[in-house]
Amino acid sequence: MKYLLIALALICSNSVVLADQTRLFVDGQGHEVRIPIKAKRIVSLRGEQFTAPLIELGAPIVGSTGLVQEAIHDGKPFIRGAHDLFHTTFEGSDIAFVGAPKQPDIEAIAALKPDLILVPDFASDSYDQLSAIAPSVVINIWSNSARERYRRIADAVGRLDRFQKLEATFDFRLARAKALTEKLLGDPSKISVAIAEVRGKRFRVYKNYGAMSYILKEMGFSRPDIIENIDGDRLDLSPEQVQAIDADFLVSSYADHFGQPPADLRANWDNLIPGWHLVLHAPRNNQHILIDREPMRALSFRSMEEILAIYLANIVTRDFKRLGE
């Protein structure tokens, strides 16, 4: 009823009467929502998952959630992901800050008079309140591949055309990279890459971790069995089992501006798993690759292409020692 009213209000406010200015969209939680065909005032409730891709798509965002951390952006609110990848700031854009992602300020959103609200599945508990304000669409974050999720977002905001252009460019570069890999290394699945980190006293291995794991998969590299068999995104292994992730390459992420500089990262490994760099093939042979975490986590073709370039330089085109050689 409310959507109808809002739709009605929208129609009345425009002089051109267009009944098909809205369309039906079924969101990630099965809500059937009447959304504008091409949204004009979007509020995003997740920085690195929604705001970053929306900026890449050139969609009109009027509000976004943000985070506050003393060490970043002088302690002013920043948009996670979009800040790191595109240097988008609240001050330097027309995007208003609508609170933290876990509990956004619904009244502040209402004040922006949005015509579409993008809601992440894990913060959808205020869905009823949000949809009283504007058509709201829940997008599932972890359960699908990065590209599928991106396509859903582009579809919801009515920017599929732009998405397909970006996608075509990316696919072109990916195909080139794969061809080069084949030429230089032969079958890419013969090369294994493990993503693992020691953080907060845990030895954690990742199956899915933003563009870092997505590009590895697209390029056809393999991973150690223990990672391949993870049911979910990640696993906390016992440090005693560190040899189970032995691979040609080891990838970890750092976040210098979050106070996790690369040097600390290695110190964490040393503290939890003494002798790790002797027992693991990759660090022993200087084949441990460190990647900046925050830009990598922003859902975008830009970050995927950056990671692709990193892997080309650090795995495909360099001399390295294979596992067991």
């Binding site: 009213l5 099965g30 609170g99 009244e107 205020s126 972890w142």
Partner: protein, 349 residues
Amino acid sequence: MSKLIYRSKYGTISFSLERAVPLALVFLLVCLFVLFVLSLALGSYDLSLSHLWQALFAAPEGETSTTILWDLRLPRFLASLLVGMMLGLSGAILQGVTRNPLADPSLVGVSQGASLAVVALIVLWPSAPLHLRPIIGFAGALLAASLVQWIAAGKSSSASLRFILVGVGISATISACTNAILTYGQINHAAAALSWLAGSVHTASWGECLVLMFGLAVLSPCLVWAVRPLSGLRFGPELATGLGLHLKRDRSLLIALAVALAALAVSMTGPLGFIGLIAAQLVHRLLRVGTGSHLLLSALVGGVLVALADLVGRTALAPIQLPAGLISAAIGAPIFIALIFRNAGPKHL
């Protein structure tokens, strides 16, 4: 001293009202009224007084101001008031029954049971409709509380200690399960569960308010009944028996009442930890009053505390929203400490 006499089918109860009680009552009611007005007027969406008036009495269809007032601000205020009252009552009853000032709804497993049930629901069935959460949470709270009761039941020699220790053990086991689910479940589900666990009224709707009001209305005769056994228990088990109380039965009934109140509150908002403990203790330390007044004042203090916490939480750092559970601890704790400095408090606890 004035005297308030209440007649019910359980007999006539008269409780002496110290002069301070009407004063405290008036003060709390004024506080509530001020909070009510402020809760309607303040928020990130600018509503001028004339708009507010219009939205309140005319409620024009399709206007954003109507949505803000009727769908957001009013149900939030009402829900926080009711939840705070119920938690305050629950804490007061539990502290009376166990004669332990640290007792609150988390001791009987209510918060943990509700948390485990809701977290399991979110993680195992992520697409479950939102309105299932309170129902499942309520069931979980009752289940956990009955488990504590069932295991603690037995020889009556050291009933209070046994009850407290079993409560601690069971609550800990349940929260370990919750923690395990949070740690080893998928990150996105864990994130959703965590925001519920923070304890907040931001999802309050009219439906929830109606359920809470209905619950409170149904339980209020029980509250009137509770006054007599609670006053008896104040003097210790021996004297209470001497006063003709059916100790074992009354204690179970009182605990059941506290559980029902807290379970209803927690199932709507998530665990608001500190309220039960602090509301009852604040009243204790401020005024030495009879049991009936103590219950009434504890309820009001709880209500004021949560309503104030929610108002501060949503406006102080706007658009950053701080959950009511967090603010109520942040506001309540210093007030409480100040009171410790001011007042010795009664010795009987």
